[in-house]
Symmetry: C2
Subunit: 404 residues, 2 copies
């Protein structure tokens, strides 16, 4: 039996009417020889509502309990979707992460899937039922409930597609696909028909709307991922390996992310092992460090700057300050009002002209660059939060992304 | 280690402030050599809210999915209580029905606990943590989530107390204990200091506020159950086996239940096996039939009346009508506007005067009696819903329950 995995995001399930709409879509896509596995996020803003609730009962809610609390959001949406499907005579059953066999490591709040044991899902598919699986959640070997971090339902969907040998994974959301830039910032941004995993990975990591790990998994298991709108029949964007030749060697999009904070340790003694002393405790605490820049050493002292998600600053500073003190650094400063803008495209590394075009365009728009990093297919500048939208628009124009 | 089980109802956990208040209570009751297991219901009206949500997506929500949906209510409240406890430096961990080892039969919506495997709870208690267990829910052998029916958290609490050999089970609620009648109906109703299981069972089954199965379990395993208020330090009512001699041979309370409907099958041929034909399908569907009355047979035809919860009428009629037609009964009628009033006391069976006092008091109050049933320790009359409050007040007066 061919299998398709469909994932529906929170805005697609925001109220009872949308839940019924999603159920209709699912029922229509079910065929005699195609099994459908559905992955749901929590309804609308319910994850944020649950987080607010947790903070109303505890100053520092224990992460293990936060995970269990948040897992209820997806159980609610999945049970409702399964009810709506059954009500329209489409047999369906909802499955928690545990029931669906989503096993994870035990890092609460950001667990990684260690294994998928899809026996129960296969049983349901063989019985002709749609399996509606709770995204974003899993269980450890000790049956402790974990969550996979923001956007984790994308990863659930792609992991299930890989484990089930699905033909493709369809991600339904409130936008029509992947654009050359965020259409809310750049009105003439164009929708891309296809994109390869690497490019999508950079766009996602730089602020577009899929969890990066889901793209990595898609690439690893070669699962074609379709990103499309729940609310229209437009064809969406296909993320896959063999993107057409004509799209190579070109800037494909501009991404931005305003959830960026910079932490700077001033006057760090320049000797081996210092970086590890800072970054190991952060890794243990599950804080992702993004861009790292170390200035030229003067008098054997250096300034070490790095960026983290703004939402991780509160966790980061108490981990960094004692280390700074211990090694005799001069101090720790931070700036929470930053953003990241990136231009992304597969052929960029071989064409140094892209970097200068980028810097020139930002300069012309009066945007100051705080930090720069590059990868094989991306150039990223850290700029002030306030100027990020203008920076994105300037880059979209400079690289002529509005032209097909 | 001595173990105490405490159960907190939905109104005790209605908002963040009450959750913190409950956490303080729990933390205070924890001793160096006393382990505390807490059972929580869903917050405030959240179970009703979830039921309303289910009906907004499906005309007839599948019960298996309703159970999974409802189970989230208790997960939310337990995770919050555990967070609040940890936040006040009282180590605690919340456990779902599955994690707590609550195994049930597979009747959705009204499952019975088949086994409690409290290994995980013991591990947590041994580690010095409070175990906060989701009431009302369990899992089948196939790891399907079930619920135990209205008030099921009481049964969870007593079952855990039995499995853990707890010293006692404390049920915290929004009233100060068990009263001689509902104080909202009878202002001078008195709180009872103690009561035995049988009496409480009749009071609970007749409309007081604990799930009857929890009392049965308490009696079976001889677990003293204290019913007390979350919001005061008043001593509550102790339900236990050795209730003082002086409370015997006396009416202990008046109970009422307005969730009563009567179904009457008219002109039933009076032959063996007829009753089974009606009641077997109801049992399979999980409908509890309460009072059953069959009138004297005239011309070999009889009228068969029985009561069910008003909320079960919609389920009952479609199961009764085809049987009535098949056996050639004249028709099926029903009356949903009924109530049940009972006087309860251990010594009643040996004192026939109680029945006549009851009927005389009701007659004097102008209350018409539709049906009568009795048990060893109870006399129950089915009356019109409208007259039930007046009936309760009349009986409370007639049996002088306002006097100590």
């Amino acid at each position: 039996m061919a299998v398709i995995v469909q994932k529906y995001g929170g805005s697609s399930l925001a109220d009872a009417e949308r839940v019924r709409g999603v159920a209709q879509r699912i029922a229509a896509s079910r065929g005699a020889d195609t099994g459908v596995v559905v992955v749901c996020s929590a309804m609308g803003d319910s994850t944020d509502d649950l987080l607010a609730l947790s903070r109303s009962v505890a100053k520092a809610p224990v992460e293990r309990e936060v995970d269990l609390l948040l897992s209820t959001g997806e159980i609610v949406s999945c049970a409702l979707v399964a009810m709506a499907l059954n009500d329209m005579d489409c047999p369906a059953v909802s499955l928690t992460g545990l029931q669906a066999g989503i096993q994870t490591e035990s890092l609460h709040g950001k667990a990684r899937i260690s294994e998928v044991a899809p026996d129960r899902i296969r049983t349901e598919l063989d019985a002709g039922r749609v399996a509606v699986v709770c995204g974003f959640q899993g269980v450890t070997e000790e049956q402790e409930v974990t969550t996979l971090g923001r956007g984790g339902s994308d990863t659930t969907a792609v992991a299930l597609a890989a484990a089930l040998g699905a033909e493709r994974c369809e991600i339904y959301t409130d936008v029509e696909g992947i654009f050359t830039a965020d259409p809310r910032i750049v009105p003439d941004a164009r929708k891309l028909d296809e994109i390869d995993y690497e490019e999508m990975l950079e766009l996602a990591a730089s602020g577009a709307k899929m969890q990066p790990r889901s793209i990595e998994l898609g690439e690893l298991y070669n699962i074609p991922i379709l990103v499309a709108s729940t609310f229209s029949e437009a064809p969406g964007t296909l993320i896959h390996r063999e993107a057409g030749m004509e799209v190579r060697s070109k800037v494909r999009g501009v991404a931005s992310d305003t959830n960026v904070a910079k932490v700077t340790v001033l006057g760090v003694p320049d000797r081996p092992g210092i970086a590890a002393a800072f970054f190991e405790p952060l890794a243990v605490a599950g804080v992702s460090v993004d861009t790292i820049v170390q200035n030229t050493s003067v008098d054997n002292l250096t300034d070490l700057s790095f960026t983290v998600a703004r939402t991780d600053v509160e966790k980061t500073l108490p981990l960094v300050r004692p280390v700074a003190q211990e090694i005799g650094a001069r101090g720790v400063t931070h700036d929470e009002a930053l953003a990241k803008v990136s231009v992304v495209g597969t052929g960029m590394q071989n064409s140094p002209g892209y970097a200068s075009t980028m810097f020139r365009a930002l300069a012309a728009a009066g945007v100051n660059i705080e930090m720069i990093t590059t990868s094989e297919i991306r150039i990223t500048c850290i700029v002030s939060d306030e100027q990020s939208a203008e920076a994105v628009r300037a880059l979209h124009r400079a690289f002529e992304l509005d032209l097909p």
